[in-house]
């Protein structure tokens, strides 16, 4: 049977010093480890293609490595072969046992045979794996070499075909010399040192160009014409050279340089003049400030002083004087600022006091007056009408409560008939105002005493008024449940007895008093208060004081409590005393 595993055919290279073949011979990268992919000059189209092919080579190497790494497919009928081999080993073992007449164990022989076969298979697989790895390395080496060749082609494309060592060096000294020469030529109206010294000849074009530059140097807009006087010798000399058709490079250059020097000298002289002028102006400024310190208030004067401080050419004495004056100016500025602040505050206060505002006067009338006056009188702005409305509603409820309390006390001992009680109950519990009105009319038409009529009226009124707490407490309209809860606090015809009805009314009063604390009071001459609008049998304030103890002793008050008597006294407009 042929050995299915190929034997290695690649002999090792006979190269002393190189221990391995294949990729082992690749020289290690020197310097930049990324040198293999160092890009050549960018932009060349062929480089893009080259790079594309290199990428293709890399892909192929990767593909080859992947293929080689795959395991070999298993041999056909491997399982059957394995069974036959196992059977053969068993037969061989049995044969060995039979041949040795039992001295040798057949099982041991069989196991040895199987172990040897397993070892052989393992060696073959190991050998195959090594061969695969070797193949992969070969493919990678070939791909890398082709890539290197492409790289070298690109690199060489960027080079000149003939090169010297100097092509790879910066010619710094040469450049410096060239720049120096150019500067010299520029400063000497286009002539080289050799031409100026006479060792080289300047051609007519160069002389013409030099004259042209000299002509521009004394042109209409030139610095020479602007600065130098018309009779300047330098200007005259330059004009003479320009007029001379045989002027030499040296003459042109000399005339131009003389002109340059004259311009600079003139500029320097003007600088001195300007400097002297500055000194004179500063001295004059200090003298003026010495005689008239108020000049420091002028911002322009302060700016001039600051300019002296900022000027690096200022003398120490000038800086000292300027500093001194600036301190004075600073103090004056502070005073000025304080004064201006006070004025601003006064202006603001006056504006605030004199601006017109809408207020509610003591009579409750809306008026327009100066804010200062309104503030002094303690008037409320128009926005307080809401609070006034709330105060009025509270007073209304309190009036109704007082009236009802009085009616309850007056009806002590009298009873409604069953029919009357039913009608009144229906009227007070009716959700429809029309129903309530009709029931109340019916009750009035029945045989009620005047006190009973007052009670019925006050009960109905109280039910109406107490619902105003929704506005005072900011509840809005409120739900049916809310309205019923409010109405349930008001005593009714079914309260049982007078004491119970008064207790309920006390609770209502307490509730209203608490709400009243959250409503601001407007400054009105006639405060909104309870009591106004009581029904006709409520007496106005009498101004008399009635002793509660004496009143309790009267026959009419027999059986009444102290609260009932107190309420009765107050209902008649008297003041209660102990």
């Amino acid at each position: 049977m042929a050995d299915p595993i190929p034997q290695p055919t690649t002999p090792a290279p006979n190269l002393s010093g190189l221990s391995q073949s294949g990729t082992a011979v690749l020289p290690p990268p020197v310097g930049n480890p990324d040198a293999l992919t160092t890009p050549a000059p960018a932009g060349a189209p062929e480089q893009a293609i080259l790079e594309g092919n290199m990428q293709g080579a890399a892909d192929q190497r990767q593909q080859a490595a992947t293929e080689m790494a795959k395991p070999l497919p298993s041999a056909p009928h491997a399982r059957l072969l394995q069974m036959i081999q196992g059977l053969s080993a068993a037969v061989a073992g049995s044969g060995a046992q039979w041949a040795s007449r039992g001295k040798v164990s057949g099982a041991e022989v069989t196991n040895q045979i199987l172990a040897q076969e397993a070892q052989q298979r393992e060696n073959q697989q190991k050998l195959a794996m090594e061969q695969k790895q070797q193949d992969v390395q070969n493919h990678l080496a070939i791909g890398a070499s082709n890539e290197a060749t492409a790289n070298m082609m690109m690199n060489l494309m960027s080079l000149k075909q003939r090169m010297t060592q100097s092509d790879l060096e910066m010619k710094g000294e040469t450049q410096t010399q060239a720049i120096n020469l150019a500067d010299f030529v520029k400063q000497n109206f286009g002539f080289t040192p050799e031409q100026l010294t006479g060792t080289a000849t300047a051609n007519p074009d160069q002389i013409k160009m030099g004259k042209s530059m000299l002509q521009r140097a004394i042109g209409p807009d030139s610095a020479a014409i602007t600065i130098l006087p018309k009779d300047s010798p330098a200007l005259k000399a330059a004009q003479t050279v320009l007029d001379d058709p045989n002027a030499t490079p040296g003459q042109v250059s000399s005339a131009g340089n003389a002109l340059d020097i004259a311009v600079k000298n003139r500029q320097t002289a003007q600088g001195y003049e300007a400097k002297g002028s500055v000194i004179s102006q500063r001295t004059d400024l200090f003298a003026k400030l010495n005689t008239n310190p108020k000049l420091l208030d002028d911002p322009s004067t302060q700016a001039r002083l600051q300019g002296i401080l900022n000027d690096p050419n200022s003398t120490p004495d000038q800086i000292k004087q300027a500093n001194s004056y600036m301190k004075q100016a600073s103090s004056a500025n502070e005073q000025y600022l304080a004064q201006q602040t006070k004025l601003a505050e006064a202006r603001g206060a006056a504006y605030g006091a004199n601006r017109p505002v809408n207020v509610i006067d003591e009579q409750g009338v809306e008026r327009v007056m100066r804010a200062g006056d309104a503030f002094a009188r303690g008037l409320s702005p128009v926005g307080a009408t809401k609070a006034m409305s709330q105060a009025a509603q509270i007073a209304d409820i309190q009036t109704g409560s007082n009236s009802l309390r009085q009616s309850i006390l007056e009806n002590r001992g009298s009873e409604f008939t069953t029919d009357q009680e039913a009608k009144l109950t229906l009227a007070l519990s009716a959700h429809d105002p029309t129903v309530m009105t009709n029931e109340i009319k019916n009750l009035m038409a029945s045989k009620l005493t005047p006190a009973q009529q007052d009670l019925v009226t006050d009960l109905a009124q109280m039910q109406e008024r107490v619902l105003s707490v929704r506005n005072i407490a900011g509840m809005g309209q409120g739900s049916e449940q809310t309205r019923n809860a409010i109405l349930a606090t008001v005593p009714g015809i079914a309260s049982g007895n007078t004491t119970m009805a008064l207790k309920q009314l006390d609770a209502v009063d307490n509730f209203i008093t608490n709400l009243q604390k959250g409503v601001p009071k407007a400054n009105l001459a006639t405060p909104i208060a309870a009591g106004a609008g009581l029904h006709s049998n409520t007496a106005p304030a009498s101004g008399k004081a009635v002793s509660l103890q004496a009143a309790m002793a009267l026959p009419i008050n027999k059986g009444k409590t102290a609260d009932q008597v107190r309420a009765d006294i107050e209902a008649h407009g008297h003041q209660v005393t102990q």
Partner: protein
């Protein structure tokens, strides 16, 4: 006077001798793609890639490319790119005193020495020459052709890149190559010493008087500016 070297020509010689070694060792080429006059480089590379794809790709064929050493040189049609099957190269050993192997080693040595003339202190050249010396001692006797080819190619790679890097950093019109537009096709720099077109440009020789009109001197600051001198170097 500085010695002039022609790296392109030396590189082509190395490749040419490798090709000859492979051919005359009995390894049949996988493909041959000749250069064509006027053909852009990218077209040639694309053709090589297509040819290699038909015979197993670039990992199964070792590529050598050359412009004939006795021909017109680079940018001409006188040359070719050749592929040899790596498996066959691996099976073929270099015999004793193989003249073609010796010639290839000599060409590689010459190429490295040319680079050494340009970059005397380049460490990659020193390393490559030392490794080449090992092979020269036995003239690569007993090496298979694949190992030999890969060995030679990789010996040349790092020194070539070093030269290219130095050139790119210092030349290219004194502007870094990444900041310049690519040259138009066929506008190869003329060899040094040959006539340059009027107006110079490129890498003209340094020194000499400026040819353009110099600027006006400082004495005439208000005057119209003249063209700046073209300082070349």
């Amino acid at each position: 006077m500085a010695e002039t070297v022609q790296l392109h020509k030396a590189f082509s010689l190395v490749q040419e001798r490798l090709t000859k070694l492979f051919d005359e060792s009995g390894v049949k080429r996988s493909f041959t793609v000749p250069y064509v006059d006027g053909e852009p480089a990218d077209a040639h590379v694309a053709a090589v890639g297509a040819a290699a794809q038909q015979v197993g790709g670039l990992t199964r064929n070792l590529v050598t490319t050359t412009h004939y050493s006795e021909g017109k040189g680079w940018n001409s049609g006188e040359g070719h790119t050749v592929g040899h099957p790596a498996a066959k190269l691996r099976e073929t050993l270099i015999s004793k005193k193989d003249e073609n192997a010796k010639a290839a080693l000599e060409a590689a040595h010459a190429y490295l020495m040319d680079i050494k003339k340009l970059r005397p202190d380049e460490p990659s050249v020193t390393v490559s020459l030392a490794q080449l010396k090992l092979a020269e001692q036995t003239q690569a006797e007993g090496m298979n052709l694949q190992d030999f080819g890969v060995f030679i190619i990789h010996l040349l790679q790092n020194p070539t890149q070093a030269v290219s890097r130095a050139h790119a950093m210092n030349k290219h019109g004194r502007v870094h190559p990444t900041l310049t537009a690519p040259q138009e096709e066929g506008q190869q720099q003329p060899p040094e010493g040959e006539a340059t077109p009027a107006g110079g440009g490129g890498e003209a020789s340094a020194g000499g008087a400026p040819t353009a009109a110099p600027a006006a001197p400082a004495a005439a600051p208000a005057a119209a500016p003249a063209p700046a001198p073209a300082v070349q170097g």
